[in-house]
Subunit: 233 residues, 2 copies
């Protein structure tokens, strides 16, 4: 299984591990070690401990640099959305890491191979092994391919409000004037409906409604973001 993993990583990501024992350790669960006592194998938990901290720092550094105006609270929320079991288990599946995990029979039968907590652990352990074996640059190259594009694809929009995301999206290549304009206020006094549009350098790029001006602006920003992302593809 490990030589197949080695070949897969080489073909898919251009990664060639020097220390294959370390790579094996990252993909081996305790249940497999227990079933093969004579092989004196190690399991992933120590490397996962390290990989978790590697991901915390490199994701922090990336969003710190990329969102220079984002205050600490929002940076923390965004990082929590990126560095979590839900995200990492999806990345692990996308990278087909599930196919290479070494599990004991009981765990295999219990469906551990698709369990988000295990997939997350394996993703972190892989990053830890990559960091130890190939250094910082290799990890950065990998996460620039696997993690950071998800920011542009809207995976983490829920963590940062749409207005902030739209601003960052539009101003990445220079200054753009973003204006929110209240078009109308309708509904009843108890249930008002606000309609707002948003324009970039004078061109309307989205419109939204909400129960407050702020909610309507968020909705308009979200519509604009989705349209812009659709256009980019």
């Amino acid at each position: 299984m490990i030589s197949e993993l080695q070949a897969y990583l080489q073909a898919e990501f251009g990664i060639h591990f020097q220390d294959t024992a370390l790579l094996a350790e990252a993909f081996t669960q305790a249940s497999y070690v227990n079933e093969h006592p004579k092989e004196h194998l190690k399991y992933y938990e120590r490397i996962e401990f390290l990989g978790d901290a590697v991901l915390q720092l490199f994701v922090s550094e990336y969003i710190y640099q990329r969102f220079p105006e984002l205050p600490q609270g929002k940076l923390t929320r965004l990082r929590a959305a990126m560095v979590c079991e839900d995200s990492f288990s999806k990345f692990a599946l996308e990278c087909h890491f599930d196919q290479y995990i070494r599990l004991g029979r009981g765990e295999e039968m219990a469906g551990a191979r698709k369990r988000p907590s295990l997939l997350c652990d394996i993703f972190e352990a892989f990053i830890g092994a990559l960091y130890l074996d190939q250094g910082r640059a290799a990890v950065e190259k990998f996460i620039h391919r696997v993690i950071f594009p998800k920011l542009d694809q809207g995976w983490f929009d829920h963590a940062v409000d749409a207005k902030t995301t739209l601003q960052e999206f539009l101003q990445r290549n220079g200054d753009v004037q973003i204006v929110y304009h209240l078009l109308k206020e309708s509904g009843s006094e108890n249930e008002p409906v606000f309609t707002v549009n948003v324009s970039a350098n004078g061109q309307v790029i989205g419109q939204g409604t909400g129960s407050s001006k702020k909610h309507a602006e968020m909705a308009a920003a979200q519509v604009a973001l989705e349209a812009l992302r659709h256009t980019k593809k």
Copy 2:
């Protein structure tokens, strides 16, 4: 205050910041910014966000390498004891960082300058600024002086059991045979007292008692550790 800090860091740690605005940011609290609106200052929170992750990784990496036999659970406990408000606020005081924080008057009067949470934040922010300005090697040099020696001084013994610490202490320069020997069992059936000694390569280095064999071994290891550390000074 910042030019004095600059001079102090140079004299005490051999650190010369290129970007003094970044250094100033790391030592400035929001209350100071609010009192000086015309200066368009920044405060430390964003850099602290980064510094926290820098410390998490570098401490993780150090203990991962230094304690190759420590399982993940104990690594996590040890890291939590090292990377926490209590430790960082003490490091900040030891480095005299409290003298250089820029605070608003209200915060100053409220005694914020000695508040552990603020000292911890400033320590993290300083590390974040050092990382951005001088890179990884400068941070490692700094924490090898300020943080890691505390491991040998016993600051974090409560997080790792004394038997593990003694083993690591003795085996750092090669293999040493450590043996725990039950000397006697006394007390009553309900309140037994076990007495154990511990030897290194046949030489007794500590003795301890406890309500179980395990507790007695821990006590013996703790006595041995304290004696060894005392001898080393």
